[in-house]
């Protein structure tokens, strides 16, 4: 395998509604920043790929206008996934394995505020049995949380988890929710959809992020401190929610095993869990114990630009390695309803 490293990462601050900015205006500063920090001249980047979803803005081929942010002239080699940017990163990683190019730009953007995101997300369900019922994403999150609680967990665990994430988010300048909450205050709050309290749910977020991958010796020339991708894998579970045990995440465990995440001792871990119980499910699937700092960014629970929130997890983990805070990290991204698809990667510091 060809060694590939994350050399730079940039993200916007997540906001409830980036009203005056369109997607390109939101994206452009982060793309420019990621490229500038990578040390790779823009015109030398070998591959460009994005992750986004046309359903978010209700505009067909919305990702094409996103290319305005990149400067696609003279023509560039470019691709897109209708998924979270973490899967775009996976395609870029595979592309770099071909060996003929050394660098790739990966970016993603999402304005979740343009439609009713909980309704929009219901349309990713199977089109015959579930989507026509319009089950909103918060209700599905509640079903999964109930399933997890019934498997032998308590709301007090969620109270601790939410409180800890908020503590981390309070020092993250890119986070949307930064207000602290103690476990007692959490428990005293009413349910919005039982057993979910408002703090168990992600905010509606607009945001964008970009990172640059560089392979082999070319990466070593970029910087003295890089976040090498030591392993990466993604797995998917059945589309139908009825055939899955929602209290566990089999696909995360499989992806974690295949990329080596289950065999290493990570300092930090960034898990893409829009709902609080999902974070606990993912921790269990990856065998994360208390020695690992989970979601030092505050996680998707505090800033959730849909389609970017997964790539942000990888970027956050890589940034902490690059700045020396951590040496080994696990980063995870999810897509689909109730953790249907999961991507796990292991990042390690070095030159």
């Amino acid at each position: 395998m060809r060694e590939v490293a994350v050399v730079s990462f940039a993200q916007s601050k997540s906001v409830r509604r980036a009203d005056d900015q369109n997607e390109v205006e939101m994206l452009m500063p982060v793309v420019s920043q990621a490229i500038a920090n990578s040390g790779v001249p823009r015109k030398e980047i070998g591959f460009t790929i994005s992750g986004s979803c046309d359903y978010l803005g209700g505009v067909p081929f919305a990702f094409v206008s996103g290319l305005d942010a990149v400067g696609a002239w003279p023509p560039i080699t470019e691709s897109h996934v209708e998924m979270d940017g973490a899967w775009a990163l996976y395609e870029a990683w595979v592309r770099l394995q071909h060996g003929d190019i050394d660098s790739a730009l990966v970016y993603s953007f999402g304005k979740s505020s343009l439609g009713d995101i909980s309704q929009v997300l219901s349309q990713q369900l199977d089109p015959y049995y579930l989507a026509p019922l319009w089950p909103d994403s918060v209700s599905l999150g509640a079903i999964q949380t109930r399933s997890w609680l019934d498997s032998g967990h308590s709301e007090k665990e969620l109270a601790q988890l939410v409180s800890r994430n908020r503590q981390f988010a309070s020092t993250n300048e890119h986070s949307q929710i930064t207000k602290l909450i103690d476990p007692e205050t959490y428990l005293a709050k009413p349910y919005i959809i039982e057993p979910l309290r408002i703090d168990d749910c992600p905010p509606v977020s607009d945001g964008a992020c970009a990172l640059v991958l560089v392979a082999g010796d070319r990466a070593k020339a970029c910087s003295t401190r890089l976040a090498w991708i030591k392993g990466i894998d993604h797995r998917s579970e059945p589309h139908s929610l009825g055939v899955r045990d929602l209290s566990i995440s089999v696909s995360t465990k499989q992806a974690g095993k295949n990329c080596g995440a289950l065999d290493i001792r990570a300092d930090i871990c960034e898990l893409h869990a829009p709902f609080s119980a999902q974070q606990a499910i993912l921790e269990e699937a990856l065998g994360i114990d208390e020695s690992v700092i989970v979601n030092p960014s505050g996680g998707a629970l505090c800033a959730n630009p849909v389609m970017a929130a997964g790539l942000i997890r990888i970027g956050e983990a890589a940034s902490r390695i690059i700045n020396g805070e951590a040496n080994c990290a696990i980063a995870h991204a999810t897509a689909g309803p109730c953790l249907q698809q999961n991507l796990v990667c292991v990042l390690e510091g070095g030159n």
Partner: protein, 172 residues
Amino acid sequence: MADVEQSEIDPNAPVTKISTPIELKYHFTAGRAASRFMRGLMKKKILGQRCPSCLKVYVPPRGSCASCGVPTEEEVELPPKGIVTTYCIVNVPFYGQKIKIPYVTGTILIDGADIGFMHLLQEVEAEEVRMGMRVEAVWQDDSEMVPGLESIKYFRPTGEEDAPFEEYKEYV
């Protein structure tokens, strides 16, 4: 379901079609650059933006230069005049048509701009429209002004000499 209908359904026939209507509502965000352009039109101003890298002027502005991938922050006010770079004569009647056919839709390259936009040509016979023809905007009445290109009622010939092809060949 009435008995008579049920008896007509073959219980062993495969279901070949279901109908699941989808309706989603969205707030459209024009963006900063396009918003300034559209508000400018209400004041009878055509506002473009110049790319700091390739110096091309975008009208309407997109907030970015698609070629260079950099923000276009310098605003440029352009005159409501330009040339027809290309056009088509509409002869096909369609539902909701407001203008009597035949009429002409053209790509108008505003003086000082590097990208054209489509608009209507009037006060000219269809067969008289030609590439390089110089045109000017005719604005809507003040009470009809909206934040959009509809604030320009149409373009009409100025009667000036046509622009030579050399002048606009890169924009065709």
